[in-house]
Symmetry: C3
Subunit: 154 residues, 3 copies
């Protein structure tokens, strides 16, 4: 078993199925060693969940879990990009986290820590990335959070 | 005539003039094979149009057409980046679509499909890209949509 | 003294201390020649400042100065990425500027010019970059502006 798969098992995590979007785009593209992963939204039973503004309809803790789920989807796509072997992911380079926010909400960093923490739990130092966290007016189907990433293959 | 120019003609499309911004930035930069294209907003008769929140002042269909116009501007700049030959655009790697949205609007994907669909109509499989679509509080001059892209040259 | 350090001195500018975030991410990552710098928010006496919506609580001029401060932080991190020698920064490739905006505010470009202008004052033609400027619902701790960048090393 690969080192990262073993770490996933240790953390009790299962990667979601890496499904393709039903539109003219793809979950990821690769240029040289660089993998660009599409923005991921959290899902439950196939539906986008949680939805709503963080700080109002959705708590910071719920949104943080949702951001973690987004990172899990990113990792699922990264596995496909790496030919099925997560040990060939050399580095998480950049993460952008969009948080569905009311204008008065300013704790986007805590929410996106859900994604960042998982990257580091799985990849260690190689999981540390450049990051931006911003609060947006809305997201697809009202999703509470959306996370995209750029990774480097070995 | 180049293959992609022929395809543009088939689709009845003319690329807009690739004008430079009147500020300290440029329409695109190139690093190796990678082209970073600045965020494009839709224009009509030289003015930013349509403006307003999608789902309120602007319909999804109007915004989708606007996103298509943004992609047309991206392609115009990509042609310049490729030394005038669109056949040297190897791949659309990533598209980020910002939709001027009310908090209750959640159909950013349909809007940004206007940009994604054009990329695939023109470039075929090479037009399929990683994508994020988000809803933002506002955009330059109230534009309904803004689209940026990263492309790969051959 | 390096050429760019001399230019900083000419402009009367001092780079802020390049501090690391207190979370599982880093100020920048490097892949080959490409440097991805995390989103920077403006600070005063160690606190995020100014805060609030531009066009309401914060004026365009104040926000422009804040965007310039964000670029100064980006340059501080770029110096570290370049091994302490800013003359090894070959190019600013891309800048994304997020402006904390009311829905009616549309002058994000003037705000982000604060960042773009400084890049060009320091690096000359090499400072000209691809750019997107968008208006967001909110930002970390209510910051008025956040700026991220991608640079190329020599």
């Amino acid at each position: 078993m690969s080192k990262i798969e073993a770490r996933l098992a240790e953390l009790g995590l299962t990667l979601p199925e890496a499904t393709a979007p039903i539109a003219n785009y793809v979950p990821f593209t690769v240029s040289g060693k660089i993998v660009y992963v599409s923005g991921q939204v959290p899902r439950k039973d196939g539906k986008i969940f949680p939805t709503g503004r963080v700080g109002e309809q959705v708590s910071v803790e719920e949104a943080k879990t949702a951001a973690r789920d987004c990172m899990l989807s990113i990792i699922a796509h990264a596995r496909t990009a790496a030919g099925g072997d997560l040990d060939k992911v050399a580095r998480v380079l950049r993460v952008t986290g969009y948080v569905h926010s009311a204008s008065s909400f300013g704790d986007q960093p805590s929410v996106i820590n859900g994604a960042s923490d998982l990257a580091v739990e799985l990849f260690g130092e190689a999981g540390r990335h450049a990051r931006s966290a911003v609060g947006v007016a809305s997201l697809p189907a009202g999703a509470a959070v959306e996370v995209e990433a750029i990774l480097e293959l070995a």
